[in-house]
């Protein structure tokens, strides 16, 4: 466990930045985070060149060869199984997949983080010791803030940023984590980020947008 960020994935980074590094409490609503993580999981597949979005916002697998990483492989196989069904019955719309995955995304992501040793389950007590609670906590506080710090400094210096980080920034913003992501970034840096987001490859850009729209609609309906 070297704290090597290169080992972390979009969803993992999002989970880490979304939770307070000491208390483990989430900065955003569960539903928003669930959608953000779902979008990130799909984003990981896009980055691995396994998935694209059609112009009509359908998810399309580009290859039946699954990714090597466990959780990405799980998501890939779910989509593959669905796409093996007859045309009329398939679920292909990005929004539908976001809704479906949002139910499991948080649990799966936490499990991956625990497995990799970045997060641990912590037991505690509440209400004067009468209620036993569990929550998840980073094992090393640096893991939580490293993703954002790296991006923030590069934005401030207007340095080039790889697509992986831009995508992560996109998901973080639409999930409502702007404050956590952009720390002390100045207005110029924020404008630079917006330009970078506009330059994301089509599938990634659409995926971020679909996630934002799903989160927005969840606010509007009473089902949040």
């Amino acid at each position: 466990m070297t704290g090597d960020r290169a080992r972390l994935y979009l969803a993992d980074n999002l989970w880490l930045i979304a939770h307070h590094e000491y208390s483990g409490k989430s900065h955003v609503s569960d539903r928003a985070l669930a959608f953000g993580l779902a979008g990130s999981l799909l984003g990981e597949l896009v980055l691995h060149n396994k998935l694209t979005l059609s112009p009509r916002a359908d998810l399309v697998l580009t290859t039946t060869e699954p990714p090597t990483e466990g959780l990405a492989r799980k998501v890939h196989s779910l989509i593959a199984a669905e796409q093996a069904r007859p045309r009329g019955v398939q679920v292909t719309q990005t929004r539908d997949w976001l809704v479906y995955l949002s139910e499991f995304a948080a649990g799966w992501t936490v499990r991956r983080l625990v497995h990799a040793g970045y997060v641990e389950k912590v037991h505690g007590r509440r209400a004067l010791g009468l209620v036993r609670t569990t929550h998840h906590q980073v094992t090393d506080v640096n893991h939580a803030i490293l993703p954002a710090v790296g991006i923030a400094s590069r934005l401030t210096r207007r340095q080039p940023i790889p697509a992986f980080d831009v995508a992560f920034a996109g998901f973080a913003l639409v999930t409502g984590l702007e404050k956590q992501l952009l720390l002390d970034v100045d207005t110029g840096g924020r404008t630079y980020l917006r330009r970078l987001l506009g330059g994301l490859p089509k599938s990634l850009g659409s995926l971020v947008a679909e996630t934002e729209s799903a989160i927005g609609d969840a606010v509007l309906s009473h089902r949040l």
Binding site: V91, P201, G216, D217
Partner: protein, 505 residues
């Protein structure tokens, strides 16, 4: 036996998505829970009789129900094509153009705010009638209203939604109570026998009848919220229309029955004098006479809970509306932010501020909470919704002609019938506004209140044209709702050469 393809195993993804989906009954109960039946029956209807002096309210409810049924044909067809929980203004923006769309958005924000704020008046009145004698205190209406305001502001900001089942139970109790009171009135007619003149169409052809239509529309407001659930409906093409028509039927029948029963209870000749004298207590006095002393208390309790539920529902509706405008950048992006609990932060705050100002003004100037805050506010809000319905019908037609979407029936004929009827209603309502408010003809109030909408429309049009020149990208996504986001960022050219993809395994 004919051989066909092997049975397709159900998709677990589809099954999961469908299990969370809503059927028509669930949607209808969500929608009706904001309709607050007891508030309309105990608050709007008696005040309507007293201020307009016209009997034909029952006929008006039925007529408006039929008109809205024609409207809903086009409405449910459009809700499938345009998914936007912001409803009316999205249809207007895509049907008639963006400037009218922006104007409609502001008109809707004004109308829903008036409806919400007016409820503080009836809450204060009802709460003081119930709780002052119970607690042995003498708190003014605005004291109770402020208390409600604090709770509503907190609930709205903390995104505490009432449990849907709780709401459905409450609403069921309200409808039950209303039916019991109606039965009591019908079984004890003051004149000894039932008469049906309140239902006669001729009751609508009297001077000032336009006012009745506005009152009736106020009772129906909220049915349009069913479109919000189209994304989650089990089978949107069928579920949404069914939910809408279920709501319309329940509302139309319940209110026209109640208005008629009230005239039977007091006698048609006395309804105006009795309601003028007793105001919101009319219904409860009748209940006390017909059923016994426990019933007024039951009625007051349900009235207070009914109004409170409606206060929260409309507060959230305004918050959501403002949020969706912020999401489309019609309002600054600031309004699209949410709190930690997922509430539209600034939408909620702004609405709470408006409510507080209204209560303060009415309290300081010692104005009547029941007639001048609740009734005037509610009916002026209802008038705003009437305007929106009319323009939206026109938008349905224009959209159909432009895009050739939907059938001739749901795209052209039904909306055209609705448009014609709604135009008649709008014109008569505007001409009869003084009757609606119960003020003398020529009173400035009868011109100022409708004119608020004219001013709002003008502001909206100016704002739209400002947006068009200042920010064309945002301007082009107005009315797209959820797709405004994808509309903004979709279509960006793939810049494969420009990014670095690091191997991060």
């Amino acid at each position: 036996m004919s051989s066909t393809a092997p049975p397709v195993a159900p998709s677990p993804v589809r099954a999961r998505l469908d299990s969370n989906r809503l059927g028509p009954l669930a949607i209808a109960s969500f929608v009706l829970s904001a309709a607050a039946p007891v508030t309309v029956v105990a608050g709007v209807i008696p005040t309507g009789f007293a201020t307009t002096g016209i009997l034909g309210l029952s006929a008006a409810f039925l007529t408006v129900g039929v008109v809205l049924a024609f409207f809903s044909v086009g409405f449910s067809a459009m809700s499938r094509r345009i998914s936007n929980a912001g409803a009316f203004y999205a249809y207007i923006a895509q049907g008639l153009g963006r400037p009218p769309g922006v104007a409609a958005a502001l008109v809707a924000a004004l109308a829903y705010n008036l409806l919400q704020v007016g409820l503080y008046g009836v809450f204060g009145t009802a709460a003081s009638a119930l709780l002052n004698p119970l607690l042995g205190v003498d708190v003014a209406w605005w004291g109770w209203a402020l208390l409600a305001w604090v709770v509503v502001a907190a609930l709205g900001f903390c995104r505490v939604d009432f449990n849907a089942h709780l709401l459905a139970v409450l609403m069921g109790l309200e409808i039950l109570l209303v039916l019991i009171l109606d039965a009591a009135n019908l079984l004890n007619p003051a004149d000894g026998a039932l008469t049906y003149t309140a239902f006669a169409p001729s009751a609508l052809f009297v001077p000032g009848a336009g006012a009745l239509f506005v009152i009736a529309i106020t009772g129906f407001v909220g049915f349009e919220n069913s479109a919000i659930y189209s994304e989650e409906a089990r089978d949107p093409a069928r579920t949404i229309p069914r939910a809408i028509f279920l709501c319309l039927i329940v509302i139309a029948v319940l209110y026209s029955l109640s208005a008629w029963a009230m005239t039977m209870g007091t006698g048609p000749g006395q309804i105006v004098t009795v309601t003028a004298r007793d105001g919101g207590e009319t219904v409860f006095n009748l209940a006390g006479t017909n059923l016994g002393p426990a019933w007024p208390t039951i009625g007051h309790m349900l009235l207070v809970t009914s109004v409170f539920a409606a206060l929260v529902a409309y507060h959230n509706a305004v918050g959501r509306y403002v949020f969706s405008l912020g999401r489309e950048r019609v309002l600054p992006a600031l309004f699209a932010t949410t709190t930690r609990s997922g509430a539209p932060r600034w939408g909620s705050i702004v609405q709470s501020a408006i409510g507080l100002v209204a209560i303060a003004v009415y309290a300081i100037r010692d104005l009547d909470p029941m007639v001048q805050l609740f009734y005037w506010g509610g009916t002026t809000g209802g008038y705003g919704v009437l305007l929106l319905l009319t323009v939206t019908s026109a938008a349905f037609i224009r959209y159909h002609l432009r895009h050739r979407s939907g059938t001739t029936w749901n795209g052209l004929v039904a909306p055209a019938i609705a448009l014609a009827a709604l135009l008649v209603v709008t014109v008569t309502a505007t001409l009869n506004f003084a009757t609606l408010l119960g003020v003398p003809e020529g009173s400035p109030l009868a011109t100022v209140l409708p004119a608020l909408y004219l001013i709002t429309t003008a502001i909206g049009l100016v704002w739209a044209f400002t947006l068009r020149t200042a920010n064309p990208v945002i301007y082009n996504t107005i009315g797209l709702g959820a797709n405004s986001v994808t509309g903004r960022t979709g279509g960006i050219e793939d810049t494969t050469g420009a990014h670095e993809l690091r191997d991060h395994r």
